[in-house]
């Protein structure tokens, strides 16, 4: 069941588009804001709300990088692995992050604090390497200073 808060936020999007389906990505983001990810159950409930079949909605959900169909940690770390960041050493950054957390890319730490995901070019190539945590952008990130960033996210 969608909560009334979720339903309200989703319905607020309807006026910007000519049909309900066009709202589906915004709607899945609403679900994620409240629940962290889009479970099979919420996908089914949402599909009904938008006059779509669950399969139609899942086809959309699985296409986009930032719709999560698996649970994620309390904080999502996006680490840019595109070409400018690669030239500037994002591999080292990636290795440091994952070995320190004891997880691989796409995984969540045991305590549920962090999920680390690779992301395509963050569009800040003059300050490579770059990463984002919960939507906060970090530029010119040095592997040795990664803990200074992460400690802000409990």
């Amino acid at each position: 069941m969608l909560t009334s808060a979720e339903r309200q936020e989703i319905e607020a999007e309807f006026s910007r588009y000519p049909n309900k389906r066009a709202v589906c990505l915004d709607a899945m983001k609403v679900i994620q804001r409240h629940r962290g990810w889009v479970s099979d159950e919420s996908l089914r409930d949402l599909a009904q709300e938008l006059d779509m079949t669950p399969d139609e909605l899942d086809a959309v959900a699985t296409f986009y990088n930032l719709i999560f169909r698996k649970p994620v940690g309390r904080h999502v770390v996006l680490i840019c692995d595109s070409v400018s960041c690669w030239i500037m050493g994002c591999e080292k950054l990636c290795q440091r992050l994952t070995s320190q957390m004891g997880i691989g890319l796409g995984e969540t730490t045991e305590d549920g604090r962090f999920t680390v995901l690779p992301i395509v070019c963050l569009g800040t190539c003059d300050h490579a390497p770059a990463m984002m945590v919960d939507g906060d952008l970090y530029q010119d990130v040095e592997a040795d200073k990664i803990n200074d960033v992460l400690k802000n996210y409990k």
């Binding site: 910007r16 588009y17 000519p18 049909n19 389906r21 066009a22 709202v23 589906c24 990505l25 915004d26 899945m28 983001k29 086809a59 959309v60 296409f63 986009y64 990088n65 930032l66 719709i67 996006l78 692995d81 595109s82 070409v83 400018s84 690669w86 030239i87 500037m88 992301i119 395509v120 070019c121 963050l122 569009g123 800040t124 190539c125 003059d126 300050h127 490579a128 984002m132 939507g135 906060d136 952008l137």
Partner: protein, 424 residues
Amino acid sequence: METPLTKNIPTNGDGPLNFKAYGKAGGYESLHKALHMSPADITEVVKKSNLRGRGGAGFPTGTKWSFVPMGTDAPHPKYLVANADEMEPGTFKDRLLLEGDPHQLIEGMIVVGYAVQADIAYIFLRAEYKLAAERLRRAIAEAYENHHLGKNILGSTYSLEMYLHISAGRYMCGEETGLLNALEGKRANPRSKPPFPQVSGLWGKPTIVQNVETLCNLPHIVNNGPEWFKSLSHTADGGTKLYGASGKVKHPGIWELPMGTTIREILEEHAGGMRNGVKFRGLLPGGASTDFLTEEHLDVRMDFTEVQKAGSRMGTGTMIVLDDHTCPVGMLWNLEHFFAQESCGWCTPCWSGLNWAERILRAMEEGRGQPGDLDKLGFQTKFNAPGHTFCALAPGAMEPLQSALKYFHEDFEQHLHQHRCPWK
């Protein structure tokens, strides 16, 4: 030297001009002027200005608009979409315009909207541009409060609604027809053309999709005329251009310069040359999906025509520099990994071929390359050539690969003969 696109962008870290300050700086003048012109006259001015689309393909902007059905029989609503889905690796120019001067984009969009008589405008923004989203939201609200958006703009008969659409992330959304599908709440697969979006786009209605930088040029062209716009450029393509450089240069960054500035000037004067201890080997002139250029091309002028003559494309104009401490094969693996991952899976040469190419490059990097691998990569560049797929993702993916096979052939050979990456 005039820098119309960036003149209002604060360089001290301050936020962008608000509605009032933007107006004081001459903002929204072009809207007042445009509303007293006919849509056909505006299109004509833009055609004469030689403005070419800044998203990468360089299609003449005025010509694009001329395909939109006009007059009383034209289908409505018509749509205008600002493509702010900047996801081309190595590209960070639209971010500057979106964060630095959101009212300039809105003004440009209203002018284009009026020229094609659009009823609804969307800004299609990538989700990771959080600051841009916040600033655009505020600017759109201000424009509505001041009757620059909504019903009867500035007391005229023209009305335009504008919405911010925040995407959920996928490179394919930047492709014109993929973007339309994404806005409709579908997978961002490309659509077959014809029909072209200008005739049948969003929800089957006439739609114009333009890159952010293209739209930001519009107010200045309408204010100052096509001759002024052409005079900004060193070459036949009109205007200024946002050029950028990333990689191991001394001062990576972004600069508004006359269209047709040479690669050498951008690289040496603005980016400060290479960092100490590394040497220049080559560059991708405008994002990941452009062919490498090398030392011999440094005096090429960066515009759509001249870079093409040199065997590449200007693309987005943001260069990615390869140095002699970075492995070209590793760089190619990174690029093809990106393209293979971002392929939407619609066309066989793309989903199959790009993965194949990526695996070969990975094997080479890991010392598992086979004698026939270079031929197989060469085959892929033909298999994925233009004309074999619905959109330009796969042909774009082949541009750095085909040129690397040409310019860095020895590096590939070394990987094969030594069974390892010589840089590791």
